[in-house]
Symmetry: C2
Subunit: 430 residues, 2 copies
């Protein structure tokens, strides 16, 4: 690794020059990696999985340094848990890398084409995006996951992890790079930003000639900074304000099961439910029942006036409640008087991430599927299934809340673009 | 049309409020249009085609106003020709609209999916992008083409044409909107920016909540302004610095035919050739021959030293020549000593738009196709075939030089995104 850390006396110019050199090496590595056979990339992935298990001790030692420094940085218990590596966690990461090796290579994939009437053959072929700048927070497993997905899809990646995981990430990156070289792949296909200086991020965002895509994974303020500064496309993952709508024609047992799962199975993630809509026709029967089930799981309920009338004692919901992603054991509830009102509410207050209907009525299911403008629409299934692995795309680098390029889970194919290959026999245009 | 022109005394606040109201109407219209059946959109397209022919007189009158005002605006002969409508041109536009009606609807198209091992059904479905802000120059036919493509793909469009075509565009937009209403479609799906004030463009670029995509069609400075200001994705169409490489194993008759076509058939367009690379092994024979053919067509040649040695009297080429899109009867020439050198030159100096190889050697063709990083790679065919219609995508709104979302011709499908529909039977995640 040519530049893992910079001397403390380096000025802003030296930092910028060092970042620029890194970005240019990434561009060059991306060109070399673009058409490497899948076999060689898979050999690297398997070597990484093996090394993560074999070189456990040195990786855990690097992680122990970060863990030791963490209390001074003010990390709380949850953050410490995210940062910590264990033998079991390393093994899980290794398993994930082996699964990426088994996924089909999106590079070189034929995505359509035809023989034109004049005999010209047109073929659309998957190719890598190029260089990806990936900004993420502390969990060190993300370093390996992201590198594995980027390299398998033929892209070079510049990693910018959280400063609290610096030693762990340096050790992991070193391991990944050493194995790239050993497998005959360009080692600069994986590089880390060599400083925690926040200015460095700004430099990279200004170089569309070297970087093709930024993926910021983190809080809203990070994403907004990146969107404002970046001169290249940004793949965004904003809020998941997800709804479950219980239709008049719902199977109420199924509705209860789905709501409890969507809200309680893992309340801190983006595809957990944050809001419940209940059709007025069944509100008298269903609301007391679902309230009891959710309160058993410790969920706080906040309702519209019609909900509060049926569930005396719960907190009234405000406009802000309906627009909010709690990421916690809180659920807003609203009684609606029609399917159309439910759809309108979801399209207005939701975040176009994941929304579910529970119904036996085919026409209601079809209308909901058509009209709800979300990356994933669930019919009689928990919102928690909005996930690359569950939906058959394999491992993912994130879930896009954008409409452009990729929507929903971003797996290997979403990390590529395409080119057209046009073959003739001396064809000219008249 | 609610706001075609603003009173002259309107201040910046009134202008901004009027633009905002227009953008919000577009958002609402896009929601309504998103799931309209194809049949109704096609009925509108056919009605438009008919009206363009039937209401020729009033359209030509509006165009005559623009033509009369054009000399004061300093338009030259070429610009005047682009601006002018004639009965024949209106008929060609109508024909283009009829072809769009015949194209398959990308909305509702099933783009993949599977039944998961747990029985969950996952389906990826084409949906519109939403609201498109389209900025373009004087040719009035573009107004109709863009509106036809946007509406067919379920998108609302905000049109910002050149001020020199204002009356023509207003008349066309009025016709398109009247027919939308008559066909039961939301008329605000097509709106024009009601002022030539350049500030208006800046307002729209700041409203990602109302606008999903900007397509600027025009000079580099326009595109750069839009990229710098836009807070939503931009579909860019930059330079086409296209190459033809004549391999050592080329059929020289074919090479001559392709080069003359690529350079001379329509030199002012983005897929015309700007640079010729010739393998050293055939340079002695081929260069004098192609020079004679091109000079017969009035092409000015600028060569590397090895070219100049073989073609005494031509202008030496500079570094800038190799990076330039002439859009004129000028061609830069370079002798290369290997396929690899040709590929390296193209990836370094080219604009990743369209590049061609002429060869009989399968291995050379394969390597060129893999390694040249361009939206379209041509084998034994003229660069002029990089075009939505020629490549079987139908009419196009532009050719993207971006890597993200869409690369190459942008037809109906490229104006859409997708959603996932996940159907279960009460599935919950364990």
């Amino acid at each position: 690794m040519k530049a893992t850390t910079l001397p403390a006396e380096s000025g802003a110019d030296a930092l910028q020059a060092s970042c620029r050199a890194l970005a240019e090496r990434a561009r060059q590595a991306a060109r070399e990696l673009a058409w490497v056979p899948s076999e060689r990339k898979n050999r690297w992935l398997l070597a990484v999985a093996e090394a993560l298990e074999r070189e456990q001790d040195s990786l855990l030692r690097a992680n122990a340094e970060d863990m030791a420094a963490a209390p001074q940085r003010g990390l709380n218990a949850a953050a410490l848990d995210r940062l910590k590596l264990t033998p079991a966690r390393l093994q899980a990461v290794a398993q994930g890398v082996r699964q990426v090796a088994l996924l089909p290579d999106p590079v070189g994939e034929i995505r359509g084409g035809e023989r034109r009437p004049n005999g010209l053959e047109v073929c659309k072929i998957g190719v890598p995006l190029g260089v990806i700048f990936f900004i993420y927070e502390s969990r060190p497993n993300v370093t390996v996951d992201a590198a594995a997905l980027c390299v398998k899809s033929g892209n070079a990646v510049i990693l910018r992890g959280g400063s609290e995981a610096l030693q762990t990430n340096l050790a992991l990156t070193q391991l990944l790079r050493t194995l790239l070289a050993r497998c005959g792949l360009p080692e600069d296909a994986i590089q880390s930003v060599p400083t925690s200086d926040r200015a460095a991020v700004g430099y990279f965002l200004r170089w569309p000639d070297c970087i093709d895509l930024v993926i910021p994974r983190g809080g809203k303020s990070l994403i907004e900074r990146v969107v404002a500064e970046a001169r290249m496309p940004v793949l965004k993952h904003y809020d998941g304000n997800c709804h479950v709508y219980v239709d008049a024609a719902a199977d109420l047992d199924m509705a209860e099961r789905i709501i409890v799962n969507a809200k309680c199975q893992r309340p801190g993630v983006c595809n957990a439910a944050e809001s419940l809509l209940v059709h007025a026709n069944i509100a008298d029967i269903f609301l007391p029942r679902i309230a009891a089930a959710l309160q058993q799981h410790g969920v706080e309920l906040r309702g519209c006036p019609e909900t509060c009338r049926r569930l005396p004692g719960i907190t009234p919901a405000t406009e802000e409640d309906y627009a909010q992603e709690y990421l916690d054991l809180i659920l807003s509830i609203k009684v609606v008087h029609s399917l159309e009102e439910a759809i309108e509410h979801i399209n207005t207050y939701g975040s176009h991430h994941t929304d579910a209907i529970v119904t036996r009525d085919l026409q209601a299911a079809r209308l909901f599927a058509q009209r709800v403008d979300s990356a994933a629409v669930m019919i009689n299934a928990s919102t928690r299934f909005h996930d690359g692995f569950e939906m058959g795309l394999g491992a993912e680098i994130g879930i896009s809340t954008d409409r452009f390029h990729a929507r929903g889970p971003c797996g290997l194919r979403e990390l590529t673009t395409y080119k057209y290959l046009v073959t003739g026999e001396g064809h000219i245009r008249e």
